[in-house]
Amino acid sequence: MRRLAILMAAPVLALMLTAAEPPAAPDRPLPDATQEARAQALFKDVRCVVCQHEAIADSPAGVAGDMRRLIREEIAAGASDQAVRDDLVRRFGDYVLFTPPVRAGTWLLWFGPFALVLLAITVLMLRARRRPVEAALLTPEEENRLDEVLRNEKLRRDLDATSPHDGR
């Protein structure tokens, strides 16, 4: 019964499968392989403006197809990658590129991670210089206390068991 309904629905289904999204005109790669490679590389950095977090390289949306066509046309017309990017930003804003612009408002974004690492290394080096490098062991009294804390765990403390110098 259900199979029959499916059979009867098949032509409708074929329509629905195509109608679910407006069929984008299939992509026509550029005849020049280097130009096509440049276009493909750009597609990965351009955001599909109606999608959520997708590059036009991956998006099946119609708009993404239009944007791909636009970029291919510009590249075929001899525009440089930078010119294509500038043109996209003019049309859609900074939002369209997955690479955020480097300007006063985004310095923290771009340089923050490296500044953080440099700062941390500086602090560590200053502290290392201030502190005596002598390796102070736990005092016997502290050792006893640690053993006491760990006693109910029926454990032998194996000091530095993973040291590469053990057992030599």
């Binding site: 499968l17 959520q52 977090h53 997708e54 290394i121 029926k154």
Partner: protein, 662 residues
């Protein structure tokens, strides 16, 4: 009736959690084992109540009780049983209940943990109860999955078909076990700050108590993220596996913080040092988990995966995050200066290497945080909209991690307190030489020539070989007799094997990620029957397209032959589908995957094109070299985590039931 039982059990769990907090805090204040014991009982009962509530929700899904609005919105009678059950955590309400389940089960396990001193345990149980109370109150008052519909619809709206997939059915439980498992580390950290032990002797023991929870959570999270990534890879049909999407980042931040915590806790355990920092990371890991919950559920971010776009609930989650993390970090700021540092160490030492590890992992987490939140902050501050995507992370996150990976293999070869760097480098000379040779070979042999990819291959090889070199060093391979080497290998603690596996898995992952990213090829073409398309060394021919009927969908199924373009090697057949789900009116793709050694041949069949006389289908063909390693590597890492967890030395401080309940 069952749904009301579930709602009642949920409310009961809230009451029990509040009771747990109050009793445990009172027990701590009065030093009363009776009160503290009652609090532990309440914690176990709360876990039981939530388990009952969750079972009630699953039952409602299994029997398709559409009078429950959550079932009506997320299920359908035609759905296969696995996805009916998985539908229970496919929505905001259901997944929040899962979150609460994991939170209380971990809370119950913490209540059963042995060997913790009275005060610390009572404070930790109270903190865990407070966390439970916050999230359970949120579930009860805003997000109960048990609200009824009247009249009940005859059919449900079904689960988003993209989520109807085996990997995604098990992805949330594992992911949440990881996310929420960090809550115990959070509670133990808060408890340590409350107890404010100034004695140095306290911290090694504390490091040992917190480490198994961190290990278990991190291993769960590793598997959860990998499954999610694998799902995105083969279900979304875009040929990729990670796109620095905000929701991906939300799961990655606690992972990075958790990885840092694991390493830092080792230093605290062994040497009593870095106590304040380890406490900070323990707080940070769960804070990132809560931040992730907020980002995913509030709709402040646009993402492929965001669900429950509801600003009102988002605001409440932000409040929960603010209360929990705010209180913890204020406590930290107040007490941290009193934490006495433990053992001293020279900059070149095992401790020093682990400090560097922490530095880079934390900076990496900060980078991900910055990249995820910056667009929001910038838009709020200046109205400017930007997108932060893969190129940003390639320029910031990747170099930071590369530096960390170059240092990594030396760490385990340095002794505690004061290490011998030239000695360590000497022992790594063979590994370094082989890694450089593999990078050069990759550059010379693989077309197109890519210097960065070749360097990445060298880095992956360096991690793998460096990890092996460390084991060889410990076993005194080639320097002692074979019997002696074998004896030494057998004598290595599981924790050491765990570390080796985790680092080796990281190297495997890097090899896969670098080769896949650097050398993959893709082609898209409209194919009529009998036509072919090629990508990389593979050619795919479209043999047949037919309409097939699934349990709750109809599909156009393409049968394609995959064979090497040079015709040397076997041909195989794959099927790729484009499914239409009438219940929700959505279309999804089922990727055709042909596993060829480490490589994937990945076929997506798209919409019908061409004329009615000669129909054609847009076929996208991807050649993803070494893609298998991308998912294998993290699994090896997680296995390393599990091995470490099974180490005799870590099995203390946790009840024997821990692994069963987690």
């Amino acid at each position: 009736m069952i749904a009301e039982l579930g709602a009642f059990a949920l409310a009961l769990a809230l009451a029990l959690s509040i009771l747990q907090t109050g009793l445990s805090a009172a027990g701590r204040a009065r030093r009363s084992p009776v009160l503290a014991g009652a609090a532990q009982g309440a914690a176990l009962a709360a876990a039981g109540a939530i388990a009952l509530s969750f079972a009630a929700l699953i039952y409602a899904f299994v029997v398709s009780d559409f009078s429950v609005s959550n079932v009506a919105a997320n299920s359908h009678t035609d759905k296969p049983m696995l996805y009916k059950v998985a539908g229970a955590w496919g929505s905001h309400e259901g997944s929040l209940l899962l979150w609460c389940l994991v939170l209380t089960v971990f809370g119950g396990a913490l209540a059963r943990a042995r060997g913790l001193p009275f005060g610390l345990k009572a404070s930790a149980v109270a903190t865990q109860g407070a966390l439970g109370s916050l999230f359970l109150a949120f579930a009860v008052f805003t997000s109960s999955p048990f609200t009824r519909l009247d009249p009940a619809p005859f059919q449900g709206a079904s689960l988003n078909p993209l989520l109807q997939d085996p990997a995604l059915a098990v992805h949330p439980p594992l992911l949440y076990a990881g996310y929420v498992g960090f809550s115990v580390c959070f509670s133990l950290a808060v408890a340590a700050l409350i107890e404010g032990r100034a004695q140095t002797a306290f911290w090694p023991a504390w490091g040992r108590w917190v480490r198994p929870w961190a290990l278990a959570s991190w291993a769960f999270l590793t598997v959860g993220i990998t499954l999610g990534s694998f799902w995105a890879y083969y279900e979304l049909g875009w040929g990729g596996w990670w796109f620095w999407d905000p929701v991906e980042n939300a799961s990655f931040m606690p992972w990075l913080a958790g990885a840092a915590l694991l390493h830092s806790a080792v230093v605290t355990e062994r040497r009593g040092a870095l106590a304040g920092w380890t406490v900070f990371l323990a707080l940070l890991a769960f804070t990132f988990s809560m931040l992730g919950a907020f980002l995913v559920r509030s709709g402040v971010l646009t993402s492929v995966h965001a669900f429950a776009v509801d600003p009102q609930r988002g605001l409440m989650l932000l409040a929960i995050l603010g209360i929990a993390a705010g209180a913890a970090f204020v406590l930290f700021a107040w007490r941290a200066p009193q934490l006495k540092g433990g053992g001293m160490f020279a900059p070149v030492s095992r401790e020093g290497a682990l400090v560097l590890n922490n530095l880079f992992l934390t900076a990496a987490a900060a980078t991900v945080l910055l990249g995820t939140l910056y667009p929001l902050i910038l838009e709020a501050a200046s109205g400017a909209t930007i997108s932060v995507g893969p190129p940003y992370f390639a320029a910031t996150f990747t170099p930071l991690m590369m530096v960390a990976f170059i240092i990594l293999p030396a760490g385990p070869l340095l002794a505690w307190k004061r290490g011998d760097l030239p000695g360590a480098m000497q022992r790594l000379a063979v590994a370094a030489g082989l890694a450089i040779v593999s990078a050069l070979a990759a550059y010379a042999l693989w077309e197109p020539k890519k210097a960065l990819a070749a360097a990445g291959i060298g880095l992956g090889a360096w991690l793998i070989l460096g990890s092996l070199a460390e084991v060889a060093e410990r076993a005194r391979l080639f320097r002692a007799s074979a019997a002696e080497t074998l004896r030494r290998l057998k004598g290595l603690p599981l924790g050491a094997w765990g570390m080796t596996l985790a680092h080796l898995g990281l190297g495997v992952f890097i090899l896969g990620a670098v080769v896949e990213t650097g050398f993959k090829a893709e082609t898209a073409r409209a194919l009529s029957l009998g036509q072919s398309v090629s990508a990389g060394p593979w050619t795919v021919t479209l043999d047949e397209v037919r309409v097939v009927e699934g349990p709750n969908y109809l599909a156009e199924q393409g049968r394609l032959t995959v064979r090497p373009s040079d015709d040397r090697g076997r041909a195989s057949t794959v099927t790729a589908e484009r499914r239409f789900f009438p219940a929700g009116g959505q279309t999804t793709t089922e990727v055709g995957l042909d596993f060829r050694g480490l490589d994937d041949v990945y076929v997506v069949i798209g919409e019908r094109a061409g004329s009615p006389q000669q129909p054609a289908w847009v076929v996208r063909l991807y050649w993803n070299p070494w893609a298998r390693l991308i998912f294998l590597g993290p699994m090896i890492m997680a296995l390393g985590g599990v091995l470490s967890l099974m180490d005799r030395r870590l099995r203390v401080g946790v009840g024997p039931r821990r692994r069963k309940t987690a």
